[in-house]
């Protein structure tokens, strides 16, 4: 009987969205209500519309439960989110300073002037702080672990740049970037897991 008259696509969608530990109970519940209460009272068309309404309203909530339960997915998104926020902060600061100094060209840093590498090192600090904070906030069950994972990712990428596209840059610049980004990322994680993060969660 179950599933005989209820809309097939909605059934598939519901099962796909439901978290594993609740899937069978939830699916059984909605099928039971559909066949025993809604269908006899409302007729097939209205009962199917009710089923669809249930699925459409339930899907995002069930997906959020799955998301909260899936620690691996959450951790990956936390680290990637931290990295993206760090990259966005660097980009915004770069655009801001370019606009401020009327230097909008995308020329290599050597052309921009001697101040540019130093500026890059200085702006890396708040960007890395933000990245570490975001990673720790998104992975708040283990905030320092997530900011440390982001710091490792930065270290790997920096090592790639060290010998790759930035190989022509001054050595002090390359070393300084690594030297400030790793501790600043960890400091961002520490800030989140300390009082500031707790206050944000309460608000």
């Amino acid at each position: 009987m179950a599933g005989a008259l209820s809309p097939g696509l909605a059934r598939v969608l519901l099962r796909a969205c439901a978290p594993g530990h609740q899937r069978e109970a939830l699916y059984g519940d909605i099928e039971e209500e559909f066949h025993e209460s809604v269908l006899p009272q409302k007729g097939l068309a209205a009962a199917r519309a009710w089923y669809w309404r249930q699925v459409v309203h339930s899907a995002p909530l069930l997906l959020s439960v799955r998301w909260q339960r899936s620690q691996v997915t959450r951790s990956v998104v936390a680290v990637c989110g931290g990295y993206l926020s760090m990259a966005a902060a660097v980009m915004l600061l770069d655009i801001g300073i370019s606009l401020a100094f009327g230097n909008r060209q995308t020329a290599p840093m050597e052309v921009r002037g001697d101040w540019y590498p130093l500026f890059n090192v200085v702006t890396a600090i708040p960007a890395a702080l933000l990245g570490g904070f975001v990673s720790a906030h998104a992975g708040k069950r283990a905030p320092m672990l997530h900011s440390a994972a982001l710091a490792c990712l930065c270290l790997l990428l920096s090592a790639g740049l060290f010998f790759g596209s930035m190989a022509q840059s001054p050595l002090w610049y390359r070393l300084s970037l690594i030297g400030v980004m790793i501790p600043a990322t960890l400091a961002g994680g520490w800030l989140q897991s300390s009082r500031l993060g707790i206050r944000l969660q309460r608000n």
Partner: protein
């Protein structure tokens, strides 16, 4: 008391429905109880998502009962409010009651 310790409105609905249903509380019954008592159509997913959250907080506990004749041959997950859940519900209700003190006149229909 920190904000995080109070229950949300729908969490209170679900806990109160569990108390009303007693031993017969599973997802569909909870949903129907809230629908009938509050007059608003509730999504089954909202009930399950809330029950999951409450279970993680230790405010409800669940047990899966394997298929039998009464359940139409399917497994059901039954939920029950814990003593901690009752305490939490009482605290939230008391907070609302304190906020409403002295405002009774403003609730009368015009």
């Amino acid at each position: 008391m920190p904000k995080g310790e109070f229950l949300g409105e729908f969490e209170q609905f679900v806990l109160l429905a569990l108390m009303r249903l007693g031993k017969d509380a599973y997802g569909m019954k909870v949903r129907q109880e809230i629908d009938q008592r509050t007059g608003r159509e509730t999504a089954i997913g909202a009930v399950y998502a809330t029950l999951d959250r409450l279970e993680q907080k230790g405010l409800v506990q669940s047990v899966v009962v394997e298929s039998n004749a009464e359940s139409g041959g399917r497994a059901r997950r039954f939920y029950e409010i814990t003593p901690q859940g009752i305490d939490s519900l009482r605290q939230s209700r008391e907070a609302i009651a304190k906020l409403m003190e002295g405002l009774e006149g403003q609730w009368q229909e015009r």
